[in-house]
Symmetry: C2
Subunit: 188 residues, 2 copies
DNA sequence: ACCTGAACACCGTTCAAGT
DNA sequence: ACCTGAACACCGTTCAAGT
């Protein structure tokens, strides 16, 4: 009957977050996670359905932080600056916390409506900027283009496809500027 | 002393390829792979260093096929058409054999020079087209931009980020055209 | 020379038993 | 109510033993 709780749901998610940040998504074992909050692995199942759900919760937390950060940094910015700022936020994240960036987009395709809402909120500032840049008619396509480019460039860069060439950040913004120009005056 | 070989290196790689095509990279266990070529799992270590090497060999094979396919389909095409053709080849691959597309870019960052050479050969037609489109000075940046966009869009689409909206392929080519236009006349 | 069974360390997960 | 040890099925990998 005593049942003293040694940890809490948010403690576990925080611990999972820091393990992922250090060791990546493959480094998070239930044994290591349980150990870092002072319990045994089976006890995790009293709070979570399993490993997948824990990872999903970390993704949700990180995406929420990211969306808030993006919203704050792009507030009242002209659309071109907003797009460049968002691109910079993702770029810096991929350099400063690469394993978190990877984890954000890996595994667990979006099924829960909760996940979708958070992801949409992170994309909203891009959509708004694209509408201002390219017009409401093509805003969605333009937003997808910018999003795809940012994610694709960062992913390939982290994978080493572009080598560790010094001009890589220059290429990143060169491409971004080309896209901003391209969507502002789409091909006839 | 007899030592009758029940299988061969290329048999194993072929079997691995079809398992990955069906079940994805997580579905390929050494037990299942060994079973499908009629041996036991430990015997695989007589031919390969381990699971990682087998997967790398499949990636290498698939990339070689892809590079050959791209080279053949873009032969003597004007640069804009070459870029659109390459984009279409990747898009179709992601629809027809999604697990192979995923496997192509997942895990095992490029360390061996052999891997790099194959990947470079797959990118060469994009580079050539971009040089014709944007000039030698920015050709590398332009090629990276196109590559990043294609990969990013397809990855996010497969992950479900863009929903299964019917206009998604339209967005894909809208963005591609915007990029072609943008890199042909980069922002001043 | 190639194959095999047995074993090892390590996963995620379940469950009966403790308090 | 939360925690635990023991167990299960399943991984990749190693190795001594077969032919």
């Amino acid at each position: 009957m005593p049942a003293i709780a040694k940890t809490s749901e948010s403690d576990v998610i925080d611990a999972a977050r820091s393990i992922i940040a250090d060791c990546g998504i493959d480094g998070i074992t239930l044994h290591a996670l349980a150990d870092s909050v002072g319990i045994k692995a089976p006890s995790l199942y009293k709070r979570f359905a399993g490993r997948e759900e824990i990872i999903r919760r970390v993704q949700l937390t990180e995406f929420t932080d990211l969306a808030r950060n993006i919203a704050a940094e792009t507030l009242d910015l002209p659309p071109q600056d907003a797009v460049r700022t968002i691109a910079r936020i993702y770029w810096n994240l991929s350099l400063e916390r690469p394993r978190i960036y990877e984890a954000l987009f890996s595994g667990a395709s979006i099924t829960e409506p909760e996940d979708l809402a958070v992801r949409t909120s992170a994309m909203l500032p891009i959509f708004d900027a694209c509408r201002a840049l390219a017009g409401a008619g093509v805003a969605l396509g333009a937003a997808r283009t910018v999003t795809a480019y940012i994610h694709g460039f960062i992913t390939m860069n982290m994978a080493g496809v572009f080598q560790q060439s010094p001009g890589i950040e220059g290429s990143y913004y060169f491409g971004l500027n080309a896209i901003i120009k391209g969507i502002a005056s789409p091909a006839e």
